[in-house]
Amino acid sequence: MTPAGWIIMTLCVAGMTGLLAWCIYKVVATPGSTKHLHSQADIETPDVDDE
């Protein structure tokens, strides 16, 4: 493992972990966020109800 390898690993791991932590903080800290945030999994397609 070279010094450049340690630097790249640290930056990438810390960067991605930090970004995820910030997003979690925003979701937790924002009132009413649960009603407005969505993922593909929880979006219901209305065509299911049509049949």
Binding site: T2, A4, T34, L37, D50
Partner: protein
């Protein structure tokens, strides 16, 4: 007491949302595709174009797709061609979105096969079929036998037929779920099974990082050197400059970002079209991308290649075993070295299978939406039609399994090139046709975070220039080789690569005809509405 109960419920709800949003992004791309590409393109060197692609195209295009989809949805369209028609205000724009339904359907044809491998591996851990001892070569032999990569048609006979049985189970399960529209079940998968997968991966990560030097006779094969194999930006015989001067590394990094974030597919456009006009798309997309990045870089990057190096040696750097060989050969070696390894092996591959199910289900919705809009048929008829098309495609991929040529060819042309083209079209539509001002307004509506104005500049100028420049460089350097490869056929073997491209073209023509029908229907509807309104 009531206040405490309310607070508890609010916390449970928030944690549930976080798990659902981050979990929805987890899939095979994180744990299988990413490590394979990183090994192929030089570990740390690959991370440079990867991070650049994440910031300059992945995240911006995720926002573009969520915004375009929701905008099109508010105007009554759910398929990518319909959304383009609504956003561009031009009937011909629908044809620009031809790749929207094509990409997920083509990817589904091989993705479901890989999904079957995960289920098959989980079953073999339970049944003892993967208790193969300490010789790494045994796991490699098992993998090639299981996927039928020795010869075409191997999956239809002998040991390889096991994969076909698991494919049938996966295919039936996917279409049962999508046919019945069991969205609640899918949501449950994401909310609970995906976090379980992440916890399982964290346990495996701890085991990998504490491997030390498992074989004292091979002191070079230790975990620190394993981490070096993944993260060092230079490799034996190759400088960082040489690695980065290869246009294919930039295309592959961008392709991986698209694949794992599911952007450039046309999937997000369809799903976001069902959202309410004041729902948040900005923080949803960012949280999903961050969860995906964490799983990919932190978990995928610290587990697979370092473990593969420790057990298989420098050969995985000098001669990378390929995208799937890495995950299906090296990880079983790690589980073999762990306490309760078979249990964790089963758990990991089974949860990976569940992750794949959620992803593959989402791949079907864009084409279903187009069939409904284009042909005026219901969901069940659309699902049946799509089932027939994808079954033929999946059997094609399974039959031409020698060296996984069909799978690799479709993954390259669709999973890389087509996604690239679709992403470029989307970003141009958002930045130049819709206009960056209106686009950012659409993105900011209901947003739980403030989008910096810099994002507008990136989407309008940086992302398209970046995408087009790399694509042109790649065309100049690599297209001739790739085209020549289509004609390379071994004696007595069918031209599988060329046939795979032929399959892509046939599906492309089919979707063009469907879009043509959809455009006619929309034209008639618009004309009728014009006659009614004074």
């Amino acid at each position: 007491m009531a206040k405490i109960a309310e607070k508890k419920e609010a916390w449970a709800s928030r944690i549930g949302v976080i798990l659902a949003v981050t979990g929805s992004a987890v899939g095979l791309g994180n744990f299988l595709r990413f490590p394979g590409l990183a090994a192929e393109y030089g570990g740390g060197a690959f991370m440079i174009p990867y991070v650049v692609a994440f910031l300059l195209i992945g995240l911006p295009i995720a926002w573009v797709e969520w915004s375009l989809g929701r905008l099109g949805g508010t105007r009554g369209y759910n398929s990518a061609p319909g959304v383009f028609r609504a956003v561009c205000g031009d009937r011909r724009a629908s044809y620009l979105a031809i790749l929207g339904p094509l990409i997920p359907v083509m990817i589904y044809m091989y993705y479901v096969f890989v999904e079957a491998w995960c289920l098959g591996y989980a079953w073999n851990y339970l049944s003892g079929g993967l208790l193969l001892g300490n010789n790494p070569a045994e796991y490699e032999t098992f993998f090639h036998g299981f996927v039928g990569s020795q010869r075409n048609g191997a999956s239809f006979t002998g040991h390889g037929a096991q994969a076909l049985i698991f494919l049938a189970i996966c295919f039936a399960l996917n279409f049962f779920l999508i046919y019945r529209g069991l969205t609640k079940g899918i949501e449950w998968f994401c909310r609970w099974a995906m976090p379980a997968l992440i916890i399982c991966a964290l346990i495996v990560l701890v085991r990998v990082l504490t491997l030390g030097t498992p074989n004292p006779d091979l002191p070079e094969q230790n975990i620190i050197n394993g981490l070096g194999a993944m993260w060092n930006p230079t490799k034996p015989g190759q400088t960082l400059g040489q690695a980065l001067s290869n246009p294919e590394i930039w295309l592959a990094a961008a392709g991986q970002i698209f694949f794992s974030l599911s952007v450039g597919f046309g999937i997000i456009i369809t799903y976001s079209s069902y959202m309410k006009k004041d729902d948040d798309v900005a923080l949803s997309a960012l949280t999903s991308a961050a969860g995906n990045g964490f799983c990919e870089v932190v978990l995928g990057g610290l587990i697979t290649i370092p473990a593969a190096f420790v057990f298989l040696g420098i050969s995985i750097v000098e001669n990378p075993p390929g995208t799937f060989g890495m995950g299906f050969v090296s990880l079983p070696n790690v589980f073999n070295q762990m306490p309760a390894g078979p249990f964790f092996g089963f758990l990991f591959f089974f949860l990976l299978f569940l992750a794949a199910v959620t992803s593959s289900l989402s791949m079907l919705q864009p084409a279903i939406a187009l069939f409904e809009e284009g042909l005026g048929i219901g969901r069940k008829a659309s699902v049946a039609m799509l089932g027939f098309i994808t079954l033929i495609g999946a059997l094609f991929v399974v039959f031409f399994s020698k060296d996984l040529t069909a799978l690799d060819t479709i993954d390259f042309w669709v999973g890389n090139v087509c996604i690239y083209v679709m992403a470029t079209i989307q970003v141009i539509v958002f930045g130049w046709v819709l206009g960056i001002g209106r686009g950012l307004d659409a993105l900011g509506r209901g947003a739980e975070i403030r989008i910096p104005r810099l994002v507008g500049f990136i989407i309008k100028y940086v992302s398209p220039v970046y995408l087009i420049a790399i694509f042109i460089l790649w065309l100049l350097h690599k297209l001739p080789d790739r085209v020549m490869a289509l004609g390379n056929v071994e004696d007595g073997e069918p031209p599988v690569a060329a046939l795979s491209v032929g399959l892509i073209v046939i599906v492309l023509v089919f979707f063009t005809l469907i879009i043509n029908r959809a455009v006619s229907r929309w034209d008639r509807r618009d004309a009728a509405e014009t006659e009614v309104s004074p």
